[in-house]
């Protein structure tokens, strides 16, 4: 492989273009397919020249499908990037926000926010962030020192944190008669339907700076692949890098959880596939994971709302149906 920087930049540019193309195709499909068959052309016509379109189709495309597809784009990108960062920090291919229990902690925070009657932004986002930081601290304390690098220790603590979080969530749900928790089970499985364009815009505005921060640290993540001591000896301030990445990632994940509930395994599937194809360089993997995760969740959500004959199911069902078996395969292979 050619290591020179012009080559590196042109490779990154080409790759981003290709993945952006894939994402745009996924978005177009997401906009044009649904219970009301509209066809690709008329859906796109409605999108680009809303004035001349059929008012019913206008409402479907602009009011329902576009916010949902854009939310899937942002949530997919974030969760995929979150998985990549956790895998780099823990040097463990099985690390992922949902599996580690960070998403579960965010969900507890979000539910408490809902019960307190807070608005989605900034109130629920904030309680959700506190919840994710809490579980993150719990995971780090439970597997102190080097043991977190061992797959079994990491998984066990994740399973326990998740079990604990589910118990608290169920407890909160059962002691309340609140109508706002009516759709809680649906939301918990990862639901992308409850959003409108201004909310999606807010989410995008707070997450895009996070993506930039993670990209700035992408070469530091490369150096971390050599282990803590070696990275330190190559001039990386491990403590600062780890802290910033953990906090930024928890923040990103909790923001998406407060909008869309628990969508699992996106951060496992996409970084794994991309690493197989593109190699371990995080300066490539960070942007690739963003585009790849976005396209993946848009397509999963499309399946989720078109597969059932009646109604629809949460996107988290599809991502778990694909992700959980892959997780088991990865675990089995890593034991060899």
């Amino acid at each position: 492989m050619n290591l020179n920087s012009e080559h590196h930049i042109s490779r990154l540019a080409w790759l981003s273009l290709i993945l952006l193309g894939v994402l745009l195709i996924a978005i177009s499909l997401g906009l044009s397919i649904g219970p009301t068959q509209s066809g690709l052309r008329s859906a796109l016509a409605t999108l680009f020249s809303p004035g001349e379109s059929d008012p019913v189709l206008y409402r479907i495309v602009w009011g329902i499908r576009l916010p949902r597809v854009l939310l899937a784009t942002i949530v997919g990108a974030t969760l995929s990037l979150g998985g990549l960062v956790f895998q780099a920090l823990l040097r463990n291919p099985l690390a992922e926000p949902f599996i580690l229990g960070v998403s579960g902690g965010s969900a507890i925070g979000a539910i408490i926010g809902i019960l307190l009657g807070l608005s989605r932004f900034p109130g629920i986002c904030f309680t959700s962030f506190l919840g994710s930081l809490g579980t993150l601290a719990l995971i780090l304390i439970m597997s102190t020192g080097k043991s977190i690098l061992r797959k079994d220790a990491l998984l066990l603590s994740g399973v326990m944190v998740n079990a604990f979080c589910s118990a608290i969530i169920m407890f909160l749900v059962s002691i309340t008669q609140d109508a706002r928790l009516h759709n809680i089970i649906f939301w918990l499985m990862g639901d992308l339907s409850a959003s409108d364009l201004p909310q999606v815009a807010i989410l995008g505005a707070i997450l895009i700076p996070c993506f930039v921060i993670v990209f700035v640290f992408s070469h530091a993540m490369n150096l971390l692949m050599m282990g803590k001591d070696m990275a330190l000896s190559m001039g990386i301030n491990i403590r600062a890098v780890t802290l910033v990445l953990l906090i930024v990632t928890s923040f990103m994940v909790s923001a998406t959880v407060s909008f869309s509930g628990l969508v699992g395994f996106v951060g496992l599937v996409i970084p794994h596939l991309l690493r197989l194809v593109l190699g371990p360089d995080h300066r490539i993997l960070v942007p690739a994971s963003l585009f790849g995760g976005a396209a993946y969740l848009v397509l999963c959500d499309l399946l989720a709302r078109t597969l059932p004959q009646q109604g629809e199911m949460p996107a988290g069902v599809i991502t778990a149906l694909i992700g959980a078996p892959l997780f088991i395969i990865l675990l089995k292979r890593s034991r060899k």
């Binding site: 290591l3 895998q87 070469h219 692949m225 050599m226 282990g227 070696m230 330190l232 990386i236 371990p280």
Partner: protein, 265 residues
């Protein structure tokens, strides 16, 4: 003589357990300095303290005649490289990518490689004889080859001092000699100071300009191999039966372990 390291009253403890206690010594530039001693003597802790991986609790460490505290992490990495024990466990890069990582202390935050960086990588891979492996993945190589790649990565930092923690452990004989010969070439051709932890007293005897024999965190003896590797000192430090005579290669001490079945009652 200018010093590469000056260590003064250096102490470190894990909790209440002292690991190194009031160590004082200095290392001249361009020397091969080998730290030996029994298990648990504090060798790894000492070399990590010297590499700035862990922070000392008492005493003073000067690197190239400046306090180690006066360097930023990145500035220190421009003059001092460290090869820890064991091999990395992260997702594997190719050999040339791994070696290029060593340029990080001289690069900007995203680590984009300049033509100069690539030329240094090429030269270093030739120097350490890993150039034929350039496209292979790190985890597909033998232990000895991986160790040479990790050393190449350290040399890409263009350090004046390199610290290695048991670089020959668990390698076969030919890889052991290749690694240590490489260190000698480094000293001879580039004037780099080499500090190394080793378990092998005979390798240490053949290559070291100075030896430091450590036991329970304290210096037992320091000096040339002939001064340190004598029968009384070794038998007392390692607490086992051994013979010390002269190596057939020249006037160097040679240590032979004596198994129980050869002992006369």
């Amino acid at each position: 003589m200018k010093s590469a390291f000056a260590v003064n009253h250096l102490s470190y403890a894990y909790g209440s357990q002292p690991v190194v206690q009031r160590l004082s010594f200095s290392i001249a530039r361009g020397e091969i300095f080998i730290i030996i001693g029994p298990n648990g003597a504090g060798k790894t802790t000492l070399i990590k303290l010297m590499a700035g991986i862990i922070k000392r609790q008492r005493g003073r460490i000067d690197v190239l005649q400046k306090s180690i505290d006066s360097y930023s992490q990145k500035k220190l990495a421009q003059v001092l490289a460290y090869v820890p024990q064991g091999l990395p466990v992260g997702f594997p890069f190719s050999v040339e990518e791994t070696v290029l990582l060593g340029r990080a202390p001289h690069q900007k935050v995203l680590g984009l490689a300049s033509a100069e960086d690539l030329e240094i990588v090429r030269q270093t891979m030739a120097f350490t004889e890993v150039d034929h492996l350039a496209r292979r993945k790190l985890d597909q190589l033998s232990g000895g080859e991986q160790q040479r790649v990790l050393i190449a990565r350290a040399l890409c930092q263009q350090p004046q001092v390199i610290l290695l923690d048991e670089p020959t452990a668990s390698l076969d004989l030919s890889h052991q000699i290749r690694i240590i010969d490489l260190m000698e070439k480094l000293k001879a051709e580039k004037g780099v100071t080499v500090v190394m932890v080793s378990h092998d007293v005979n390798l240490a005897s053949m290559y070291a300009d100075q030896l430091l024999l450590l036991k329970a965190g304290k210096i037992v003896r320091m000096g040339t191999p002939s001064a340190v590797l004598n029968f009384e000192t070794l038998e007392e430090t390692y607490n086992c039966q051994l013979l010390v005579d002269s190596s057939p290669l020249g006037n160097l001490p040679r240590v032979t372990l004596v198994p129980r079945k050869f002992l006369k009652s």
